[in-house]
């Protein structure tokens, strides 16, 4: 991969990381309320996958979707405003962290019911195919969602009807406090997917090169065959499930072990491993600039969100009066 491409990936991972860290801070300041689920540790997946998509492609996420929205083109301003509950938010402040929507960016949520976006993604993919639109559809969900009936029903329908949907399972090994092996009899998730007669592949979700490569294969397959494809990305969330989670169900050592595979550090290492001293210096400077750029982007966004206004009650439509 070219260095400039790598750098863009690095930048986007870092944008997510920084945004998420700021969210955590703003949550303790009570600027952001409700539920807040952070993507820290999993950035390589959204970054790698979305790097291969274009503006007109459809993306659906879960309640852990800030990063996906950002990379799909929703501005940090619109995202922070949303989390601040302001009308300038991408859902007018009515949705909050779990319900980021942006039709212009073909970002369809943000869904707080586990697995309920999966069949909806199938519908979007079917519509694009039927309407002969050249858009692809990608759906992100956690490994826990695979236990839901909605997942099963959608796997069957998409495989049966050749619906060109890319299933991206972000397997972070936990659904809230329930470990994968304590909630699924079959922990080899790809086997499960293949039982629907669907193509499926497992990916090291901490390695952005592998994410990009295998996603590309999947997207090409979908395009040529007009069929669905399932990708499992093995990853880990470095933070608790949400800001309410006391994180009692996993060992500190396990978290530490995974942190050593931090996808951002991994990418940096890969990018720098054959650099000489001068290149290294330049890279460090570039990273500093990058961080600065991101920090400006984010602080401007937060300032914007601060200044934005709340929607008036009189602006919303009430039924059944």
């Amino acid at each position: 991969m070219e260095q400039s491409v790598c750098f863009l990936l690095l930048k986007n991972m870092q944008r997510i990381r920084t945004m998420e860290e700021l969210c955590a801070e703003l949550y303790t300041q009570e600027k952001i309320r409700g539920f807040l689920h952070l993507y820290i540790g999993e950035e390589a997946i959204a970054t790698g996958v979305i790097s291969l998509l274009s503006a007109s492609d459809n993306v659906l996420g879960t309640y852990r979707e800030h990063g996906h929205a950002l990379l799909k083109g929703v501005s940090a301003k619109a995202i922070f405003s949303e989390m601040f509950g302001k009308i300038e938010g991408c859902s007018k402040g009515r949705g909050g962290s779990m319900h980021l929507y942006s039709v212009p960016h073909r970002f369809f949520g943000g869904n707080a019911i586990v697995a309920s976006g999966i069949p909806q993604a199938a519908g979007l993919a079917m519509a694009a195919k039927r309407l002969n639109e050249k858009r692809r559809t990608v759906c992100f969900f956690g490994e826990g969602a695979m236990c839901e009936g909605a997942f099963h029903e959608t796997m069957n329908m998409t495989a049966l009807w050749n619906i060109p949907l890319l299933f991206c399972c972000e397997n972070n090994y936990y659904a809230m406090g329930t470990a994968l092996h304590r909630s699924q009899s079959q922990t080899d998730l790809v086997k499960k997917a293949r039982s629907y007669a669907m193509e499926a592949e497992s990916v090291d979700g901490m390695n952005i090169f592998e994410v990009v490569e295998k996603t590309k294969t999947a997207l090409d397959y979908i395009e040529h065959n007009q069929k669905p494809y399932f990708l499992e990305f093995k990853t880990y969330r470095f933070r608790p499930h949400s800001m309410f989670d006391p994180d009692l169900y996993r060992e500190k050592s396990e978290i530490e072990k995974w942190k050593r595979q931090d996808p951002i550090i991994f990418l940096k290492k890969e990018m720098t491993k054959s650099m000489n001293e001068i290149e290294m210096k330049q890279f460090t400077r570039d990273c500093e600039n990058l961080n600065h750029e991101i920090s400006v982007e984010m602080s401007e966004a937060i300032a914007f969100a601060e200044a934005a206004r709340f929607e008036n009650f009189s602006e919303i439509t009430i039924e059944g009066q």
Binding site: S91, R94, P119, Q120, N156, M157
Partner: protein, 323 residues
């Protein structure tokens, strides 16, 4: 023109499938089987398998798929075979279909029509005889329609397709073989207005769906003894056309609501409560309700009959309420 309710539904459905190239019908056995109630018989041949989609037994799945297709610019008609199985899909219907417009800051509108049959009276027992139409009317973000006349069977779907809000059309299974006259579409056809089926000044009788024929018969009976009942077919359970109700009761000062749903927390409770709040001083006697008895519907015919409001119960109740 004289037609059965079934034929009228079928023609309405055909019209919209022809008119909207982006529309499709999806549901269990809508295709090869011809539709459980033969509404879409031969449509698979006529429209092809991309427009008439036989769904697997996956109510959550194909409801979600319909929602997604609507987000993606199509006009899906999702058929849930009967209201009883809709319970499986309620998360999709409520947490997404009903909420997404508001929740997305008015960005996403869902041109989605959901149709299903409902009701008891055919000895299908508890799990196949639910009447949830009034219960669904609790949910903001949905439009709930209950066509009970041939005219509405013919035209409601056509108008529902023009909405940008999810519409649920609930057809009572006992109406399929009813016949009636209907003319060309009225210029002022509206989905939302209740219809005064018969005028009268002695009492306002409010009903919807499968109870309409029984109420019509009861009104005839009452006419014979010189009592003129004003009969209102609600047609749309959400939003509720209280204007028509209030106007009528201001004339009659007495109200009976006949509802096939269970009584507690029914749509008839809502109507009674709204009358309480808005027309308390117009009433000569308290508003009464005649509803399904609060028990699951039994298979045995004598029990089923006793549990669902019948013509004779309506007449009796009307007589009790009149001076």
């Amino acid at each position: 023109m004289k037609q059965t309710y079934r034929e009228a539904l079928r023609e309405g459905l055909k019209d919209v499938l022809i008119h909207y190239q982006n529309s499709f019908l999806i549901g269990e056995d809508v295709g090869a089987y011809g539709g459980t109630y033969a509404i879409s018989k031969d449509f698979l041949k006529e429209f092809g398998s991309e427009r008439i989609i036989d769904a697997p037994l996956s109510e959550v799945g194909f409801m979600g798929l319909g929602i997604g297709a609507a987000m993606g610019g199509m006009k899906p008609i999702v058929e849930i075979m009967t209201v009883n199985f809709a319970l499986l899909a309620l998360d999709q219907i409520i947490n997404t279909a009903a909420f997404i417009k508001f929740m997305s800051g008015d960005q996403i509108t869902l041109p989605l029509v959901i149709r299903m049959t409902s009701g008891g009276g055919r000895q299908l027992a508890a799990q196949h005889s639910n009447s949830f139409e009034g219960w669904f009317a609790h949910i903001p973000g949905l439009i709930i329609l209950t066509p009970s006349t041939i005219e509405d069977a013919r035209y409601m779907l056509i108008h529902a397709m023009k909405e940008n809000t999810p519409v649920i059309i609930i057809e009572h299974a006992l109406l399929f073989n009813t016949t009636g006259e209907y003319s060309d579409e009225r210029a002022d056809y509206s989905l939302y207005k209740a219809r005064v089926i018969k005028t009268g000044s002695d009492l306002t009788l409010i009903t919807y769906g499968g109870m309409l024929p029984k109420c019509m018969k009861a009104c005839e009976e009452m006419s014979k003894i010189g009592k003129e009942i004003e009969l209102i077919d609600l047609r749309c359970l959400r939003p509720l056309d209280t204007e028509t109700i209030y106007a009528s009761l201001k004339k009659t000062h007495r109200v009976l609501i006949v509802d096939e749903g269970w009584k507690s927390g029914s749509i008839s409770a809502e109507i009674s409560a709204r009358i309480m709040e808005n027309c308390f001083y117009d009433l000569d006697t308290p508003v009464q309700r005649l509803c399904r008895k609060e028990v699951p519907v039994p298979y045995a015919p004598q029990l089923e009959e006793a549990i669902i409001p019948q013509y004779s119960n309506i007449v009796q109740k009307l007589k009790e309420m009149l001076p």
